[in-house]
């Protein structure tokens, strides 16, 4: 396979990640505290305000998937008694840990000083850190983010989150890091977050252009990488998103399509909205199935699991803990199904999509349970036909390339036929 083409922001991100993982590898010597947490509902600004380094196990797992290591890690975990039925991120993470705990750059990841269990939008998170706690024998703090069952953040839920932040999470961070809570420092990080979020939203909404200068799914999982992981609320994050926005705006001004691993995509034919996480083990092949057909994803829901900024949320330094609660509550998988459907319908309308696709992953019930209902509802409301494909996050056994390609090709033919008025 040819070397993937990389633009400036991708190289910048690569350098940032390399520095971060080198710093993590040195943490046992430098004494920098390490906090493991999850992408949805991550409290990166708070963690950074204690001068601690975040580690996101889902990011490590997906990186293992992309580097073709996850199959062996999953097998390792299944040999240790973990069921074939459960989340492969968890098994990949446990297998990685048992295989030497080498992170994405091949450097050893440090043990956590604290597991910050931000219980946001995913039941498995709770078990994941109970399992990791057994492996690492380290302190764990639970931060329960109530689900938006009725589609709104209820005031009592916000108060509950604020109280947990003050009375549980902050004291646990103080104890794990040996540092006092510094609210001004938190405000500083939050202000940096808001700047980066403005630029990220400009990038995401560039998908409204025709042609779209971004791929709102495959390309955007790279774009959201820094803000979903260790770099929200950092100067590096701000610089990355400023650079990225300039690149994307330049492409939009020139009427160019998105950058793909095989080069710029020209001649956009299909504009799609995608629901569900991607498959990581065959990520590039999966993307190619779209780009070969000149199909561009103009918006996706997966790229909102770490925050729904494009609907207006920004971290607010004037209300440091309140804004963290608001952020966590609004992450995509913490929204109920009607809210998710509303979001998808808005995307289809605002981004002028002519197709809608669900990639249903076996591992993730938080996403997958109810997706067939989402499909029907979105079709009913928008009149746009949907497609449904199945794969997994990081288990290579569940990616059937021929099957998925067939379905996609049929789907694109159906869109063509509709355009020609051959079907209702």
């Amino acid at each position: 396979m040819a070397e993937a083409l990389k633009d400036r922001s991708m190289l910048l991100q690569k350098e940032m990640l390399a520095r971060h993982f080198e710093r993590l590898a040195r943490a046992p010597e430098t004494g920098e505290p390490v906090v493991y947490t999850f992408v949805p509902g991550n409290l990166t600004e708070l963690i950074r305000s204690f001068d601690a380094l975040p580690v996101l196990p889902e990011i490590n797992a997906l990186q293992s998937g992309m580097r073709k290591l996850s199959g062996d890690y999953i097998a390792e975990a299944e040999r240790a008694g973990h069921s074939e039925d459960v989340c492969t991120y968890v098994k990949c993470d446990i297998g990685m840990m048992r295989s030497g705990n080498l992170g994405p750059g091949g450097l050893k990841l440090p043990k956590p000083d604290l597991l910050l269990l931000s219980y946001t939008g995913c039941y498995t998170f709770m078990k994941w850190f109970e399992l990791l706690r057994e492996e690492y024998d380290c302190p764990t703090v639970m931060f329960h983010v109530p689900y938006q069952g009725d589609g709104v953040l209820e005031p009592e839920h916000r108060s509950y989150m604020l109280r947990q932040l003050r009375e549980q999470v902050i004291p646990a961070l103080e104890k794990a890091t040996g540092r006092k809570y510094d609210e001004d420092k938190l405000r500083h990080h939050l202000a940096l977050s808001a700047k980066a979020e403005d630029d990220l939203v400009a990038v995401l909404q560039a998908g409204k252009n025709r042609p779209s200068p971004i791929d709102g799914y495959f390309g955007t999982v790279y774009y959201v990488g820094p803000i979903f992981s260790a770099f929200r609320g950092t100067e590096e994050g701000v610089e990355y998103y400023r650079t990225l926005r300039a690149e994307v705006e330049e492409r939009a001004a020139l009427g160019l399509g998105p950058i793909t691993p095989d080069g710029p995509l020209e001649g956009e034919r299909y504009r799609l909205v995608v629901e569900g996480p991607p498959n990581w083990t065959s990520f590039r092949d999966f993307w190619k199935m779209f780009s070969d057909e000149k199909a561009v994803v103009v918006a996706s829901t997966y790229t909102k699991v770490g925050g729904t900024y494009d609907f207006g949320f920004r971290h607010d330094p004037s209300d440091p803990l309140g804004t963290l609660a608001d952020y966590c509550s609004g992450c995509y998988t913490n929204l109920n199904l009607p809210s998710r459907i509303d979001m998808i319908c808005r995307y289809i309308e605002e981004y002028q999509a002519d197709g809608f696709l669900i990639n249903s992953v076996k591992s993730c019930n938080s996403f997958s349970a109810g997706q067939l209902m989402i499909l029907r509802e979105v079709e009913k409301r928008t009149g746009i036909p949907g497609a449904f494909i199945e794969s997994d996050l990081v288990d290579p056994r569940y990616f059937s390339a021929a099957n998925i390609k067939n379905r996609l090709e049929s789907y694109f033919q159906m869109i063509d036929a509709r355009r020609l008025g051959k079907t209702a």
Partner: protein
């Protein structure tokens, strides 16, 4: 049942079995017909505060799917093959009109599948009251109690609006007392089975509890009391069975044939997770003070160790199997887990490692509520029982 005579055990079990078997929820429909103007509220596993449903004048109805008695026609169209069986069976019940007598349905925070089903219900049945019941997961008891109290008060208001009866503190206290009695009765049944499992086959206990979730609590207490009396009058004969704890079946329920197979294979089930919501609260809820606050505090001070709650004690998962086995006087553990059940399957490695460190024999298998073939389970359970007998004391 013959008038004037104490009902026999067979009569009582048959009555419970009829209620359990009836997928049209005839018992619920009869109650509604006999109580004009009253309504019923369903709930999914594992835990909901039934006291509040009852205090609002609604009949609480447990929704546990259709087991192996329901052909899934519409339900499969809503779920992928890798999602557990319970939700498709619940959808099947609903789409076939069998749940149309429910004015409200509560979806507890058992897992993401049941959570997302709450949203589906909102879309499918916009006229029904739907609430996702998010129980507190923080180990901070005071914060958890405050949160849970606010959730319960919301439920009181909402269900009061559904039923047209906003309960007074006296109503709430009376319901709390009634459910204290219900739980005490369940504890009595479990204690009796633990002490004399040959007298209380799990098959009978199970259908009794299932029936209890479809009739008013007062009727369940009476039925269970009569059953216990009948058991005394008709004692069974002890067999040389192994005593086992069955773990993992707290949400999607096993088919009755599976429970029967385990016991017929030479195992006495002396503790289990079946219908866990019935005994989720391990102690009585205090009757003094504010009843809603009392319910909230009872929840956060409860010692129930279950997969659906966060375990804040790092040693909790390691210890719990030893404690349960000791309390039940069991010889071993059967991990009987529904396929694709995240809570049970993610917990299993932790629970099993704690058990095996304590040298407790374990086996594990998976089932679905509609599993129809039991031979493999019978063989596994039989071999397990034999191995305990042969080598357990070595």
């Amino acid at each position: 049942m013959a008038a004037g005579h104490a009902p026999t055990r067979a009569e009582l079990v048959e009555k419970a079995r009829d209620i359990y078997d009836d997928l049209d929820f005839g018992a619920v429909r009869r109650w509604l017909a006999e109580h004009p103007g009253r309504k019923a509220a369903g709930y999914l596993p594992v835990y909901v505060p039934r006291e509040i449903i009852h205090a609002c004048g609604l009949l609480p109805v447990g929704i546990h799917g259709g087991g192996d008695r329901l052909e899934i026609i519409r339900g499969d169209a809503f779920y992928q093959s890798y999602i557990c069986h319970l939700p498709r069976s619940v959808i099947e019940l609903a789409q076939s009109g069998r749940l149309d007598m429910l004015s409200a349905v509560l979806f507890p925070s058992t897992c993401d599948v049941i959570r997302n089903l709450s949203g589906m219900w909102k879309l499918l049945y916009p006229d029904a009251y739907v609430r996702y019941i998010d129980v507190p997961q923080t180990p901070d008891r005071e914060a958890g109690a405050d949160f849970w109290e606010s959730e319960l008060r919301r439920l009181v208001d909402d269900l009061g609006a559904v039923s047209g009866h906003h309960p007074t503190d006296a109503d709430l206290r009376a319901s709390v007392e009634l459910y204290n009695q219900t739980r005490a009765m369940v504890r009595s049944l479990y204690a009796a089975r633990r002490e004399r499992p040959w007298d209380l086959p799990s098959e009978e206990l199970y259908v009794l509890l299932r029936a209890g979730e479809m009739i008013p609590p007062e009727e369940f207490i009476q039925l269970a009391r009569e059953y216990l009396a009948a058991v005394e009058a008709e004692p069974g004969r002890p067999r040389d069975n192994s005593r086992v704890v069955v773990v993992g079946a707290f949400c999607e329920q096993p088919p009755l044939g599976l429970i029967i197979s385990i016991e017929r294979a030479g195992c006495y089930v002396v503790d289990d997770d079946f219908l866990l919501g019935n005994r989720f609260l391990l102690r009585d809820v205090p009757l003094d003070g504010d009843p809603v606050r009392a319910l909230a505090e009872a929840f956060v001070s409860n010692d129930q160790c279950t997969s659906v709650l966060y375990e804040s004690d790092p040693l909790g998962k390691k210890r719990v199997m030893q404690e349960r086995v000791a309390a039940a006087g069991a010889d071993g553990i059967i991990f009987a887990t529904p396929s694709f059940c995240d809570p049970a399957l993610l917990d299993q490695p932790m629970l099993r490692s704690g058990a095996e460190k304590a040298c407790i024999p374990c086996i594990a298998f998976k089932y679905a509520e509609n599993t129809g073939q039991f031979q493999q389970f019978r063989e596994q359970a039989g071999t397990f029982a034999d191995s305990i007998k042969l080598w357990g004391a070595a």
